[in-house]
């Protein structure tokens, strides 16, 4: 993990050496149409990668217990509050040089552990008692959990700490300190590649690779695939199904934890209501790619990010949601199980 961030910093430093000074609008601000397109693509990809990482958590849980985990976005929201608390309590934003990178790693890993454990506990308390109940009861339980998490976020924002503005207005959005400067890492023509863009890439890509390895080549991954395919069969083969479910909640949650730190560093704002959109985008991404399918979630996330960005840039921003959902519906009408989803077969 540390290497990853170090690599990010290295890349950023390399890039920085050939940055022009950025002030006001270079060349009277008139970007060429190609530059505009590239810039929108960069923005879309960055946003998309974050969405993808959250979507993986969604899709893992879905793949294993067929639950649309409504609480996942709000779990990420609490993760952001946790990260902000750690930053505030330890003063991570003041750490310079190598310390800064260490701090970033600490926040990333800490938040991932926090989100993973929280997701595991939610599974234990709110979903596990419903294992034998219907899927819809499980769904309502997830909705309930999401409301509880939102309220915890509201409480959390009232902590009398500097980073929460002394907690005087717990519901207001909070600024997340720029641990990674939002300054441009590179500027080619008028296209700005910011350090946060690089950060997104340097955190999300290795995680996706690691996860693929885990699911494909490890014993736990094999067990997860077995449980996803047939829980009864898996348990007959001696797999502890509950443990595997718990593990996937933990892994999905911790990926959400990583994602939420990157999200917070990229947007520099956290609010107790941000979980709704995070969860929604990730949910759409997961479905678009074929829910339960890990590469599908990544593909879906990137697509959603890019579509949003292009629609904001070339159409009107107020129609962006309509465009995203319109494309989603069209794709599902023609490919009813998502882009990479397994073809659904009828019971014979």
């Amino acid at each position: 993990m540390q290497q990853t961030v170090a690599a990010a910093e290295f890349l950023a430093a390399c890039a920085l050496s050939r940055v022009d000074a950025v002030g006001g609008f270079a060349r009277d601000g008139l970007l060429s149409s190609q530059e505009v397109f590239t810039q929108q693509l960069v923005t879309g990809l960055s946003n998309g990668m974050i969405i993808a990482l959250i979507a993986i958590g969604y899709t893992m849980v879905y793949g294993i217990i067929e639950l649309i985990n409504f609480a996942h976005g709000d779990l990420c929201m609490l993760g952001a509050y946790f990260a902000l608390t750690v930053v505030g309590a330890l003063g991570v934003d003041q750490w310079a040089g190598t310390g800064g990178i260490m701090g970033l790693v600490l926040v990333l890993v800490g938040t991932a552990a926090f989100c993973g454990s929280l997701n595991w506990s939610i599974n234990r308390l709110a979903y596990r008692p419903l294992r034998k109940a219907s899927k819809l009861s499980l769904l309502v339980s997830a909705i309930g959990a999401s409301f509880i998490l939102v309220n915890l976020g509201l409480f959390w924002g009232g902590l009398p700490m500097d980073v929460f503005a002394d907690g005087t207005s717990s519901a207001a959005p909070k600024a997340f300190p720029a641990l990674v400067s939002a300054a441009p890492a590179a500027q080619i023509g008028d296209v700005i590649y910011s350090r946060t863009d690089l950060l997104v890439l340097c955190v999300t890509l290795p995680l996706m690779v690691a996860l693929t390895y885990l699911v494909r080549f490890t014993k736990l991954g094999k067990a997860m695939r077995a449980v996803a395919q047939n829980p009864t069969g898996a348990s007959l083969m001696g797999i502890d199904v509950e443990r595997v479910i718990g593990a996937s909640f933990f892994i999905g949650g911790s990926l959400g934890g990583f994602a939420t730190v990157v999200y917070s560093l990229y947007n520099q704002t956290v609010s107790f209501q941000m979980g709704y959109r995070m969860g929604m985008d990730a949910f759409i991404a997961a479905v678009l790619g074929g829910i339960g399918n890990l590469p599908g979630a990544v593909l879906g996330g990137i697509l959603i990010g890019v579509i949003r960005s292009m629609s904001d840039g070339y159409l009107e921003a107020r129609w962006t949601n309509t465009v995203v959902f319109g494309i989603l519906i069209l794709i599902l009408v023609f490919r009813p199980s998502g882009l990479l989803g397994a073809k659904l077969r009828e019971k014979v």
């Binding site: 008139l30 505009v36 923005t43 107020r318």
Partner: protein, 414 residues
């Protein structure tokens, strides 16, 4: 047996219906020594911060008078017109609040609402029932001013034909125009990019801003409604960069992501002034925007506000600021002052009213002349609007609001 039970039940139900049809008004004005004021504001969800400070302001107004006015004990209840499922104002709850207030004979004043959309639901109800309504937050022009909203506004909110709705905040039409003039005169803007949050408040101001800009020869290079729940606006910023405006105006509030728009603007390298209305005139906006994006070097942030900011207040206003600080440990937000002012003007009217019934109190509020309050000395006009037309322009320096100058003023008066 069953049939007999059924017919008895049916007969009872029928009788009950008949009885209920007889109008029964036991909610008559019994002589009571307790009067009640209620507020109806969205306290669950995103507007919680502002509405809490409004409620604090109202409470202070009441406590300052020892909860007694003219020998009558004043009670206060803060009602919530938001539901947890929505996290925002809910028409059904607002309507229920209004009805609850109407049904309680002790209630003589209704302070609310925060959202103009909610006001549209409770205004006709309260007007019909003859209960005075004082709003600390509604700014949609059509609520009071003929000719600025729909053709049937504002008459549609006054089924009784009388004005019973008053507001202590200046409406959008003044603020949008003032903001535009400031951009043209002080910021020397030739090209503006206008963003709004697609809400009643934000879009209303943005529309006025646009109209003023077009009338005064400022080129509008973009007019976009944003998605207030989006995680960031980087793509929009690229679009803004491509249009190269001198100023970005955002019609919206802290809750509809003003701070995020500003941060993305800075992250995208747009070092131009950012102008927004009083929905962002709160400490929470500065906190959310972070110290780096609000500095002058980054282009500067300018915020319009109806009336003068608290630290510029003199007399009663200054006293309010001091006691608020003592009580809550912080400089009051703009919203707190509006709440306080709404409370004060209502209590003042109750004091002046000969009899303490609802009709007399409406008349007393309407007769408010040269009221010496926290926002200055002002009156209600015949539409129920405040006569304050002075707006102030504020900027942010060292993480705090700083007064720049006043704007608007008497030129806009009828």
């Amino acid at each position: 047996m069953i049939r007999r039970t059924a017919s008895i039940v049916a007969a009872l139900t029928g009788a009950a219906f008949l009885l209920a049809a007889v109008p029964l008004n036991h909610a008559q004005d019994k002589p009571s020594k307790t009067l009640k004021i209620v507020s109806s504001l969205p306290q669950t969800g995103s507007a919680n911060a502002q509405t809490t400070s409004i409620v604090n302001g109202i409470k202070m107004a009441i406590e300052e008078r020892g909860a007694m006015v003219d020998g009558f004990k004043i009670e206060f209840e803060a009602m919530d017109d938001a539901s947890p499922q929505k996290g925002n104002w809910d028409g059904q709850i607002e309507s229920a609040n209004a009805k609850r207030a109407i049904a309680d004979p002790a209630v003589v004043g209704y302070i609310g609402t925060y959202n103009s959309g909610a006001a549209k639901i409770s205004m006709p109800l309260l007007n019909k029932a003859g209960l005075v309504m004082v709003s600390p937050g509604n700014t949609a022009a059509g609520l009071t001013k003929p000719g600025l909203g729909e053709p049937n506004e504002p008459a549609v909110y006054r089924p009784s034909g009388k004005v019973s709705y008053f507001r202590v905040v200046p409406a959008d039409d003044i603020q949008g125009a003032v903001a535009c003039e400031f951009c043209r005169n002080d910021l020397k803007a030739k090209k503006v990019f206008i963003l709004h949050d697609r809400e009643l408040y934000g879009k209303g101001i943005a529309d006025v801003f646009k109209k003023t800009a077009e009338a005064t020869g400022v080129e509008v290079v973009g007019f976009e409604g944003i998605d207030a729940k989006a995680s960031n606006y980087r793509s929009l910023v690229t679009k803004i960069r491509a249009a190269a405006p001198d100023v970005v105006f955002f019609g919206g509030t802290t809750q509809t992501n003003a701070a995020q728009v500003l941060k993305d603007l800075r992250a995208g390298g747009a070092k131009i002034p950012f102008v927004s209305p009083d929905g962002t005139f709160e400490k929470a906006f500065i906190e959310a925007a972070g110290k780096d994006s609000v500095t002058k070097e980054q282009g500067g942030v300018y915020i319009t506000f109806g009336g003068v900011p608290s630290e510029m207040l003199t007399g009663i206003g200054a006293k309010f600021v001091k006691s608020y600080q003592a009580k809550y440990g912080e400089i009051p937000e703009a919203y707190a002052v509006y709440g306080y002012e709404a409370g004060c003007v209502l209590l003042d009217a109750i004091d002046r009213a000969e009899t303490k019934d609802r009709a007399a109190i409406i008349a007393a509020v309407a007769a408010t002349k040269d009221f010496n309050g926290a926002l200055g000395t002002w009156s209600f006009d015949e539409n129920g609007d405040t006569s304050i037309r002075t707006m102030s322009i504020n900027t942010i320096e060292d993480g705090a609001f700083k007064f720049v100058r006043t704007a608007g003023g008497a030129a806009k008066a009828k």
